[in-house]
């Protein structure tokens, strides 16, 4: 019996068969890189190299090259760190939380979102390390090892050390989760390979996976538990990042709302970045049938919800500052709105609170161009949020004699550009050499999403395989292998 939902759009459109999914997803991996991809990689490498030059110079001469001063001792570096960590959160949220909630729309986008998480966390981790000034001398100071000059240990009471543990755990567990998800798809690419080198490389990456029922049984169990472990992990990471501020005594930082507010903000910015990437990726690799408008609309709904949560948090902070009666706290918030950094504050409010409300209109949240523009606006807004929290609180501390104004230098800007270059380079390499869509998972929901699959049993010759991506000899060789 066929059941076709009248309420929901199918998650995979275009009447795809299992064979089509394999073909569509493997095509970019197997084909030679196209010009758009090469252009993108060239641009990303330009950012990486030009930013890398300034970052290298900064490391050579010291962090005095940054615009930070006595009062504002955290500025762009920690802003960028918190921003990048936040971006990573949507990946885990899509793959873990939505898996636990049995949200089937996650399957087309989870792979790329998880990759985004890994790369964003790498970009984030650079900042605290570089911030140490001479990391080659002391990167190991953050590890729980007795100091070489005695048995002095790291301080387990410090939120900065909690951060080290949280970020490294988050990174390694996300990496494992991502790799586990990739194994069956690597096996598919291995079995399709027609040249020895790809077959060997994907064979090694697939770890000898052959899709036996016993392995799948354990595999599913492992995925579910990893999702169960990652869900509190994703909440804990940004909670702990917020502790870096919340356990201090600086007005504007010392607030109990920080943990939930940071988590909501992270999901908000993470989904915005997923959207930015997905809209480009689906176009670049012709994946419109897998990443549909339905997916984009769902993500826009999440952006609206989390954006509103963040908006409420801003207002709550203000209210509590007034209600607490603490004059320093009150001054900090009035200063944010009307002080020297008013432009940053109002950029944040416009980008984060007002603009996502446009998604209440169906016409906006189902419009690709509007979504793309708003996703970038949200990312800019979230960067400003971190900037406002860090810089406006530090530039006016308890001692008026140390009040200063922070301005970034070229080294601040270009170090940030470097992380963009790194992020896009990694993402482009991923999207070329790894399957962007989780084939095995999309196959497992295909039946629910599109009943056409079972209407007729199509063979490879009937399947729609655009010929422009592959040479005829290759096509023939693969068909003879698969026949």
């Amino acid at each position: 019996m066929e059941i076709v939902s009248k309420v929901r759009e199918p998650l995979v459109t275009g009447g795809k068969t299992y064979k089509d999914i394999t073909e569509d997803v493997c095509r970019p991996v197997e084909a030679a890189p196209n010009i758009k991809w090469l252009a993108g990689l060239g641009f990303a490498l330009l950012l990486l190299v030009s930013g890398g030059y300034f970052l290298g110079e900064m490391l050579w001469y010291g962090i005095g090259k940054w615009g930070m001063n006595k009062s504002v001792e955290w500025a762009w570096d920690i802003t960028n760190f918190v921003w990048w960590v936040g971006i990573g959160h949507a990946g885990t949220l899509i793959s873990a939380v939505l898996l636990l909630f049995r949200q089937k729309w996650r399957t087309s986008i989870n792979r790329a979102a998880e990759a985004m998480t890994i790369f964003a966390v790498i970009c984030a981790a650079i900042w605290p390390v570089v911030h140490m000034g001479r990391p080659w001398l002391g990167a190991y100071w953050a590890l729980p090892l007795p100091n070489a000059f005695g048995s002095l240990w790291v301080n387990f009471n410090s939120p900065l050390l909690w951060d080290v543990f949280a970020i490294s755990t988050y990174f390694s567990v996300s990496l494992v989760f991502w790799f586990i998800g990739l194994i069956p798809d690597f096996a598919t690419i291995r079995d399709r390979a027609i040249k020895p080198v790809p077959r060997l490389i994907y064979g090694m990456l697939s770890m000898g996976f052959n899709g036996s029922a016993k392995t799948w049984m354990h595999y599913e169990s492992v995925s579910l538990i990893l999702a169960g472990l990652s869900t509190p992990l994703v909440l804990s990471v940004h909670t702990i990042v917020s502790f870096d501020f919340a356990t201090s005594v600086i007005p504007g930082w010392h607030t109990t709302i920080f943990p939930p507010y940071f988590v909501a903000g992270a999901i908000f910015s993470g989904f915005a970045m997923v959207l930015t990437l997905m809209i480009v990726t689906r176009k670049l690799y012709n994946l419109e049938d897998y990443i549909t408008m339905e997916h984009i609309e769902m993500m826009n709904v999440i952006i609206t919800v989390t954006g509103s949560v963040v908006g409420i948090a801003y207002i709550t902070e203000f209210f509590i500052a007034w209600y607490s009666g603490v004059e320093y706290e009150q001054y900090a918030f009035v200063n944010r709105m009307t002080g020297q950094y008013w432009w940053a504050y109002w950029s944040m409010m416009t980008c984060n609170v007002i603009s996502p409300q446009l998604f209440y209109f169906k016409g906006v949240r189902t419009n690709l161009y509007a979504t793309f523009a708003l996703s970038i606006v949200v990312n800019i807004g979230m960067w400003f949020e971190r900037f406002v929290i860090i810089v406006t609180s530090l530039h006016r501390d308890y001692l008026p004699s140390s009040w200063v104004y922070f301005s970034p230098t070229i080294h601040d800007v270009m170090s940030y550009v470097f992380t963009f270059g790194l992020f896009f380079t990694l993402f482009l390499m991923f999207s070329k050499f790894f399957p962007v869509v989780n084939m095995a998972e999309v196959k497992s929901i295909l039946r629910d999403s599109d009943s056409k699959v079972y209407r007729g049993r199509r063979t490879i010759s009937d399947a729609v395989v655009p010929a422009d991506h592959r040479t005829t000899e290759e096509e023939k060789a693969r068909e003879s292998v698969m026949a």
């Binding site: 939120p159 909690w162 079995d191 077959r199 060997l200 899709g211 036996s212 595999y219 702990i240």
Partner: protein, 203 residues
């Protein structure tokens, strides 16, 4: 060759047909070697009579190890080996130990469980899997029955599989070399015979 293993393969298009077929074939007292699918098919493990996965237990045990390790490490370092007064807190400040304890629990749980999964399923970068049919990772479900371990003849098994809805039924012999799955031999084969040749041989 003497040591070749002989299998009968049933190839299915639809996982619901496969599930019914597995039940029917096992109902006839036939011993199924294994079923290979391109995506996880729910309830297949029940139909095949497998015990529930022990991965949750492994995850729990490794997680507990992480918890204990974290508590012992932090208590010993902060309370015994080098006690310091920080922010007026007591030496063994349990609430401050919560974040790291949580992180280490998750870390060890995840890594321990995934390690157990890899080891128990023989997954490693230099593993050479036996692939009965290349389409098993694409769009077909493959049921493999070992001829030596069943009372029925080849023709009877093929008839049974066709009856239960297999799209295609065929015989497949595994040579001794294939059964061993030696990585070095695999690489040499790959580069001397090429993928297409070895793939043709496989099917």
């Amino acid at each position: 060759m003497e040591n070749n293993k002989h299998f009968v393969l049933g190839i299915f298009n639809d996982h619901n047909v496969l599930l019914k077929a597995v039940k029917a074939v096992r109902g006839k007292g036939v011993n199924i070697k294994e079923v290979y699918t391109p995506y996880p098919v729910h309830h297949l493990e029940d139909a095949l009579g497998y015990k529930r996965s022990w991965m949750p237990k492994a995850a729990f045990m490794f997680g507990m190890t992480g918890t204990i390790l974290a508590i012992v490490l932090q208590t010993w370092v902060m309370g015994i080996d080098w006690p310091m007064i920080i922010g007026g807190k007591s030496f063994i400040a349990i609430p401050d130990f919560v974040p790291i304890t949580f992180e280490l629990t998750v870390l060890l749980s995840a890594f321990g469980m995934v390690g157990s999964f890899f080891v128990s399923q023989g997954l490693k970068p230099y593993a050479v899997p036996v692939i009965f049919d290349r389409r098993q990772s694409d769009d077909k479900h493959v049921m493999a029955i070992d001829l030596a371990k069943n009372g029925l003849s080849e023709a009877e098994l093929m008839g049974l599989l066709e009856e239960t809805g297999a799209e295609e039924v065929k015989r497949r012999d595994l040579t001794e070399k294939e059964q061993e799955g030696n990585f070095i031999t695999y690489i040499v084969d790959l580069f001397t015979h090429g993928v297409t040749d070895s793939a043709r041989k496989l099917n």
